[in-house]
Symmetry: C2
Subunit: 389 residues, 2 copies
Amino acid sequence: MGETVDTNASFLAKQLPLLGIDLVWVSQVGDVQPQIVEVLKRAWNRSDLVMTTGGLGPTGDDLTRESIAELMGEKMVLIPELERSLRERFLRFGTHQMPETNLKQCTLIPSAAAIPNPQGTAPGWWIERDGRILVCMPGPPREMHDMWERSVRGRLEGRSGQVILARTWKTSGFSEAAVGEMSFPLFPTDNPSLGVYARQDGIHLQLKVTAQTVGEADRLLSAGESKIRQVFGSTIWGTDEETLEIAVGKLLAAQRKSLGVIEDYTSGFLTAGLAEVENSPSFLKGGVTAVSDAAKIAMGVPAAALSRGAVSAEVAVAMAEAARVRFGADIGIGISGTQPAQANGAVHYAISDGTVREAMVHPRGKERLATTVLFELRKLLLPVDGQGT
Amino acid sequence: MGETVDTNASFLAKQLPLLGIDLVWVSQVGDVQPQIVEVLKRAWNRSDLVMTTGGLGPTGDDLTRESIAELMGEKMVLIPELERSLRERFLRFGTHQMPETNLKQCTLIPSAAAIPNPQGTAPGWWIERDGRILVCMPGPPREMHDMWERSVRGRLEGRSGQVILARTWKTSGFSEAAVGEMSFPLFPTDNPSLGVYARQDGIHLQLKVTAQTVGEADRLLSAGESKIRQVFGSTIWGTDEETLEIAVGKLLAAQRKSLGVIEDYTSGFLTAGLAEVENSPSFLKGGVTAVSDAAKIAMGVPAAALSRGAVSAEVAVAMAEAARVRFGADIGIGISGTQPAQANGAVHYAISDGTVREAMVHPRGKERLATTVLFELRKLLLPVDGQGT
């Protein structure tokens, strides 16, 4: 019904290439046993490695174990050792006795070995049969990541005999088609293979290489990077996991400049993003979410300005100045705006390092507005000849 | 390679049941034409409606159009009207001429009609053939949601002859197995069908009903709700889209109590979540992200307390008191802690309404800590006899 966004697939999609394993197929299916069995049968017949997440809970709609037993033509058997350890877990952590329903989390089929789950009540299943591997992990991301790290990754390491590495470069200022026309001719073969993706923070280029060794893969990627940097130069603002917040944080730290933020429309989103950057205390003096007039006045925005309208250049500039002065920062950012309900209206924001820059935008959500403001801040911090397009 | 988390599937999974359409299969596949064709062929053969998102960009790795042409055994044809309108779009918005690569976004196969995309350069494709429907939409969520709203939803309405509705209740205090044992016996049939899910904010129960009319579906759901509320009572803290932030916001608004927040470990996450609640200005006086000592001192935390250690009960209490006093709020929340890099350490938080409550936790990320603090705040606001377990 759509409440769950599947982040497990993208977690594994990031992890598997590091082991040289090419992730080709991803399927999602509901809690309906014939459908789960159909998906599993197809996966088992076409792939060397099949991984499942979810459906290992104790309730009647958790059907992964039952479906695998059906696929393999084997019977689920209660394992006394698993039962003992789960009952102990309930005694240790629980406020009540183990419900009998949990017993199905203590079962295995003969082909399966249990994978420990210190974070939850559902052990994983590890199955090797007919030269193939099937690994079942729990659905909650915290449990799944932990089980992957402790017990699964190590057992898959070295099995593929190859490595797959990828590197990403993030550009701003070009359209997706323009980036494509500039970059695809550089990589005419399948290895490295190029992907071009339109993202909220610009167009990303990604090179993916398959090689026998990490060294060889690195050499191929570095050769590719030279070609890409020659074409895109300073329009590349970041690489790989580097977010715009990290890129701007690096510039601030390198220039020993500090930042203060007062937000209304983005209600803490900009500050929270910047605060996540490692060593953010070195450049982020503080941020205030000021959604009410009272909070803005408490921070030093003149009541008179607010009485002329809470969304105005005047208020945004006063917020930026207040952010700079109150936090003793070199640069202050003020974002005015209205609550989500009236989010289609205009928003004024201002950046001040003594000199004030102000702009009005029609924002399409917090994330895009934060991106706009960060790109403006980046412009302010870049040497003039490094601003690219 | 895992950079993309697929939110389009969950968006559609929420939308389709409202049209009485049962979403059964979801597949993800890379930019490899034979694999895309294989997935599409299977989908086309087993389903009345197939929807794709993504792969409509202008670059060589955008292969949805080519794959569908192959599946249908039809040829892609350049449509002069689409070309004219795309060239116009580039003149209007672009900083440069339309790259020739974009021409493939102006093509159709004979069975397809174009679906307008005011938010981007890629029109969608609408195909009806052999009594089946295939709808292709762009990948960027903003473009996809807009196209769905404007042009796709209306055309699917009324076609299924049924409605599917779901309702969710969110509990705290029970294990997943316990909730399962208490609830599955209440719903022995397939309609309504019950699902029980372990989530970060507790165990959720979901009822899903299929009916001829909305009225009939509503009646079935309401009857189910009575049974669930009888069993779970006040341990239900929210329903459907109601987050913990919304639930707590309602309690605050009903009691005309206001809130101020100063955060370190959660670095604005708690405030940002609360600020997203509609009419948050009525209860949220303000929030400060204070990740540095300087920011905490500026808000009124005694420097002497910080010099004894930035993570302590003393600092958390001082932050809570400062949040209450500085923002003129009835209740202040202070969350101490360390930067993400040392996130395994302890965190102290405090809630003050004049009387101070303080606790130390070993947090597992911002989200879980914010949840812990919100449940504490909820306890403080609930009448003693309504606190459930």
